[in-house]
Point group: C2
Chain length 429, copies 2
């Protein structure tokens, strides 16, 4: 071995030994912290406890005089609820549909209906095609990818750039008529915190597509979920698509799961008139209508867009320190070592970490042994496979602040340890 390499190796071994001590201490601390999913904390849920006895005895009349307890009304949801969320959705109430407690269910059903029955502007049901493909900006939301996988929709990964997906690649792939859709989390993206730039959104709206019935699944899950005092705004995909002559392209989703109650919120869909009519027609076969009392509950507690903003400011107060704790722990242990880069999100629920290639799964295993539950490595990629085994998703919202600090410190140690181990084995190999 060359003397310089030998000296470097010694340095590495010394660092390895030192981080090994740290990891041993971490394990001895016997943590038990769940950092897997983007769940609100109990304190966040407490913000909406008033809903637990809403709408209140005697309060069940809809704005149109209908009885929200009964079957009356449209599958599109209560008008007053659609008015409440119009600004958040970037669409007038008549182009909004409000379902039950899951926007994922609305996305799922759009895909299922597209597969079995086709969509407006389409010549046939999607399932009639030999091959169906979706563009998947990565890293992304595992549950989006799981729907595609369940229904045999081939996923094409597209790298994110920091201002949305690489549009050169998107525009090229979208020309293939088999490519029928694209997943987007355009704001405070899961997990990278990505905010799609105006240019990106314009290009998504304008781009020619091979399929005449191409759909953008625009999951604006974190539209009002700011982590700083400077709320970010993004371009309105519905308007840009309409201007570009592609008004049926976007299906815009959101939910109140991370506003009111994660398990008992409202799922929302905004889209062109034809798309809404299509979805209404389809889901009218499925149910007489959504739970209107839960919509009334949301109207009573949130009142208007200012009410939404007040609630989200209260969430921010609880969330911001947790994200700061993660950043502080990572900065302390990882800054300048060239072994990991992590996001500093301005909103949303996640910190995304890219560690030295080939180390992510090992980090998760080390963390698990140390009592820190992380989402499996690869989970943020189609088919649960990160080709570089590099990306980790950190969800700091649920545990108490102290636990978040401890977990972030612990994960940083696991990253150091895994990378040192990896380099050591590379050297030996």
């Amino acid at each position: 071995m060359h003397p310089a390499s030998a000296r470097a190796a010694e340095g590495l071994d010394a660092r390895f030994a030192s981080v090994g001590d740290d990891y041993a201490k971490l394990c001895a601390a016997r943590l038990n912290i769940d950092m897997t999913r983007g769940k609100p904390s109990a304190a966040q849920l407490d913000l909406s406890n008033a809903m637990l006895n809403l709408p209140g005895n005697g309060d069940y009349l809809q704005a149109d005089g209908g009885d929200a307890r009964n079957y009356f009304g449209s599958v599109q949801g209560l008008l007053e609820a659609r008015v409440l969320f119009a600004r958040m959705m970037g669409a007038p109430p008549e182009r909004i549909l409000i379902g039950n407690n899951s926007s994922l269910a609305l996305m799922h059903d759009c895909i299922v209906y597209a597969l079995i029955k086709g969509v407006p502007g389409g010549a046939a049901p999607w399932s009639a095609a030999k091959s169906i493909m979706f563009l998947c900006p990565v890293p992304g939301y595992d549950r989006h990818f799981a729907i595609c996988e369940a229904y045999g929709i081939k996923m094409l990964a597209v790298p994110l750039t920091g201002s949305g997906p690489d549009m050169d690649i998107v525009e090229r792939l979208a020309l293939d008529p088999s490519v029928r859709g694209m997943w987007c989390v355009p704001k405070y993206s899961n997990p990278t915190g990505e905010i799609y730039s105006e240019e990106t959104i314009e290009r998504i709206a304008r781009m020619p597509t091979g399929a005449g019935d191409f759909r953008v699944f625009w999951d604006n899950a974190y539209g009002v979920h700011h982590l700083t005092g400077r709320p970010m705004e993004i371009a309105n995909i519905l308007e840009l698509c309409e201007q570009a002559g592609h008004s049926h392209r976007p299906l815009v989703f959101a939910s109140t799961s991370k506003m009111t109650f994660a398990g008992a919120g409202l799922g929302l869909l905004a889209a062109s008139e034809a798309n809404i009519a299509w979805f209404v027609a389809r889901c009218s076969q499925r149910s007489i209508g959504p739970d209107k009392l839960n919509q009334l509950r949301h109207v009573r507690v949130l009142r208007d867009h200012a009410g939404i903003e007040r609630l989200m400011a209260a969430h921010r107060k609880l969330l911001q320190p947790k994200f700061e704790a993660v950043d502080a722990a990572f900065a302390r242990r990882l800054q300048g070592k060239g072994i990991a880069r992590w996001s500093k999100p301005l909103g949303g629920y996640f910190v995304s970490v890219d560690v030295h290639e080939g180390c992510a799964a090992r980090v998760v295993a080390l963390a698990k042994r140390a009592g820190i539950e992380m989402v499996p490595a690869g989970q943020t990629f189609p088919y649960r496979t990160d080709p570089r085994d590099s990306n980790l998703r950190i969800a700091p919202s649920f545990p108490p602040l102290n636990d978040v600090s401890a977990a972030a410190e612990g994960i940083a140690i696991c990253i150091e340890y895994a990378v040192a181990e990896h380099r050591s084995s590379e050297r030996k190999g």
Copy 2:
């Protein structure tokens, strides 16, 4: 014309003239009564008003300690809710799944998943077959038939006998491998009030089927919805099928839509372990889980099976007089005239009337002109076509008692008028 015929014709014309006067008076009364759908009345909904401020501030802990406000838990629904409904469903809690506010949605999704992915015991997705058929006892529930129609499932009508579908026909048709399922409303059936006999249910459980993955969609929508002091019980399809070696055959549905709130109840599914696991796997792609707070609300207000029975007895008090009013009006005007037969249901939400062949649509049109809204004739048949144009469905639950009496009287007049008119035109023709 033969003198006897002429005299008969004169009698007919006189009766026609007299009922014509009655019909003119009916129109002059300018009624405005909706007898279309099986909706609970406001007074019935009031019985559950306590739910409007449940579970109550501070009450959100599940029996397992989980937080019902959050994402935690299984897509199968809260254990305590499944325990609550176990007796009503005729299945242990582990074979029950509780969804959101619509059992129709569960039925719809079972069919959609069967089409796209197949069911346990099936060799392929149903959609892979050239032709799929369902047996449809008639008259039946229009929304069942609408799902079949929407997804291209051919419906084969089977007459009801008074103790369930004609099983000789069912057994014969079920031998066709294209026949993959059958709709049943086994108790207080919509609309005939039919109660399937033990023999019928045993034969459904035992019968050989051409399809290895045949499913009985057992919509026990009115299982606890008695209209008399003598609750009727039916055989347990799940147990009988298990005994017959067909444990995966039945999918048992129910809901609390006509127990608590029609628009904000719970949809329930009971089935074999494999069927429940199948549905859980499928709907786990769709949503993180159902609205657990609404399940908790039901647990708090109903408490146990005795609580369900108390609530249903209170419903009966409100419903029974309305059904008696319909029967009284029909008896007064139609008894012994040989122009209509109507059901005297022991439970459920409907009175079914079979009028002189070829007259049902005319009755609905006459009633409409007189301000009485009825469901379109034919609606209770596959493809909305009653081959005999004879069946009418009366839904007395929603309007106040006085209106129900007036509407029943009015419908009886319309029946007399339509039949007289029909006979008169037959004679002239």
